[in-house]
């Protein structure tokens, strides 16, 4: 797998502890870039001022930093465009509906 692919795969392992759904399925990840050994992740959260703010962005940093070939991770938290439910995967929607 390419390094970019590994970074994307690793993000599936970061779970929102309130909803119990990973942040990729929730549609929080807007962009992932890898340049050399530096990963840059652009993401959002479901609500501005979410109390899990720091925990989730730190989680992303830790998880991606663990990957071989990555030495440096930047997380860019953006509110534009704002998150909306249609950014979620079908899997996440189903889980919210029945979970």
């Amino acid at each position: 797998m390419s390094l970019l692919g590994s970074v994307k795969a690793a993000l599936f392992e970061v779970i929102d502890p309130e909803l119990g759904i990973n942040i990729v399925d929730l549609g929080l990840i807007y962009d992932v870039q890898v340049e050399g050994n530096h990963a840059k992740i652009t993401m959002t959260l479901t609500t501005p001022g979410c109390p899990l703010h720091d925990s989730i962005t730190n989680g992303v940093k830790f998880r991606v930093n663990q990957l071989k070939g990555i030495d440096d991770v930047t997380v860019d938290l953006v509110w534009e465009p704002a998150w909306s439910p249609d950014k979620m995967s079908e899997r996440a929607k189903e889980k919210l509906h029945f979970g």
């Binding site: 119990g20 109390p51 730190n58």
Partner: protein
């Protein structure tokens, strides 16, 4: 930007609050005879009600605000060291005040003075923190309104305690009603309104709602409070009735927004503690409606009104706090224990940290207790009050155990 507060600060407030909750219910149990006879202005009830409202509810609210204000308003707490000192002063003040109210009311003013210094320090801290917020939103107005009401409530409380020790300089009855209205309806209700606008959408994962009633709710409720307080001093029943109608109207506007938020939610199944906090909003609406109807019907019985106040406090304020606390504690503990490990290894979800089944039983026992108490109190049946205040005391112990257990996960 790092905006989170060091967990130790909110946790200190919350642990103190949980212990005070048990002490409060035990003290009230000790005074069950007075409750059954409709005598509330006696030492054990003064003591129990302030352990409950100051020791539990105010302390929990402070702890929650230390945690939530930075994340919700995106501005860090002004000074956390000051916060630690504030905790110690307030805890000492409230404890000594509530004890003195029970054993030697004419000295209560000294404990009360320390409690007031602690609360003023908190108000100063929040003022400094909110000042740094660049853009005010609707939630800010509710919080600023609530903090202003808290300030006035403790000043009123101070004059009441003063009158116990020295030559009275204001009449006690209208001042007591003013104190209760500001403390219970002004401070707690506005605060819960404000935080609900943040927490209800968050816990239900709601999207695309309007909050169009927030401003009318705020204005109507505040004008209602002003009129209600005015009516105590002017002794005009019609103003009191208009006041209650406005409070009921303000509550209804808030309820309409909550209903819209919930209908637009993505999360179908709400977790139980949060569902209980939403249920408390229903009780709150019901109490406001009853109060408005009683006032229109010119019911003046002090016993009936005492139980309206009781139900207002327990069914709306305390129930909301008990529900949210069950969400806040796992969150705080999770942040402390697992936030560094998220993404590194398998960490529990917040839901896995609580026992939902136990919470449903506790919330049910709580509701049964306060209904039983109200019936026993309204009909002055001593044994019923004894049994249900006993049940409430046991429930409070079990509640404390069940939330403190989270810290051992």
């Amino acid at each position: 930007m790092k905006s989170e507060t060091n967990i130790k600060l909110p946790l200190s407030f919350i642990i103190f609050g949980i212990i005070a909750f048990v002490v409060a219910q035990s003290t009230l149990f000790f005074g069950h005879d007075f409750i059954a006879n409709g005598q509330f202005r006696v030492p054990p009830i003064w003591s129990g009600s302030h352990f409950l409202l100051l020791g539990f509810a105010v302390m929990i609210a402070m702890g929650a605000m230390y945690q939530l204000v930075p994340v919700a308003f995106l501005t860090p707490i002004w000074n956390e060291k000051f916060g630690a000192v504030q905790f110690i002063v307030t805890a000492l003040g409230i404890t000594s005040f509530a004890i003195l109210l029970g054993v030697h009311a004419s000295y209560a003013i000294y404990g009360g003075a320390i409690a007031i210094i602690g609360i003023l320090m908190f108000l100063f801290q929040m003022l400094k923190t909110l000042q740094a917020q660049s853009k005010k939103n609707v939630m800010s107005y509710f919080v600023i309104g609530a903090l202003s009401a808290l300030f006035l409530a403790i000043i009123a409380g101070f004059t009441l305690a003063w009158n116990f020790s020295f030559t009275p300089f204001v009449s006690q009855d209208p001042m007591l009603f003013t104190h209760i209205t500001l403390g219970v309806a002004g401070w707690f209700t506005l605060l819960i309104f404000g935080f609900s606008y943040k927490l209800v959408p968050m816990f239900s994962l709601s999207h695309g709602f309007s909050m169009k009633w927030a401003k009318p709710a705020f204005l109507t409720y505040v004008i209602g409070l002003v009129l209600l307080i005015g009516s105590y001093w002017l002794e005009t029943h019609s103003i009191q009735t208009v006041g209650w109608i406005l409070l009921c109207g303000g509550f209804t506007f808030f309820g309409l927004d909550v209903r819209e938020i919930l209908t637009k939610r993505l999360r179908r199944k709400l977790d139980k503690p949060f569902a209980f906090a939403v249920f408390a909003i229903g009780i709150g609406f019901f109490v406001h409606l009853i109060a408005a109807i009683l006032s229109i019907a010119q019911v003046k019985s002090p016993t009936v009104w005492s139980w309206v106040v009781f139900f207002y406090i327990m069914g709306w304020v305390i129930a909301s706090i008990l529900g949210y606390l069950y969400k806040i504690i796992p969150f705080l503990w999770w942040t402390y224990k697992y936030s560094e490990r998220i993404g590194k290894e398998k960490v529990p979800t917040l839901k896995e940290m609580i026992n939902e089944k136990a919470s449903v039983i506790l919330f049910t026992l709580f509701i049964i207790s306060i209904i039983g108490l109200t019936i026993g109190g309204l009909y002055s049946i001593g044994i019923v009050v004894f049994l249900f205040q006993g049940l409430l005391t046991i429930t409070s112990v079990l509640y404390a155990i069940s939330v403190l257990k989270i810290f051992f996960i």
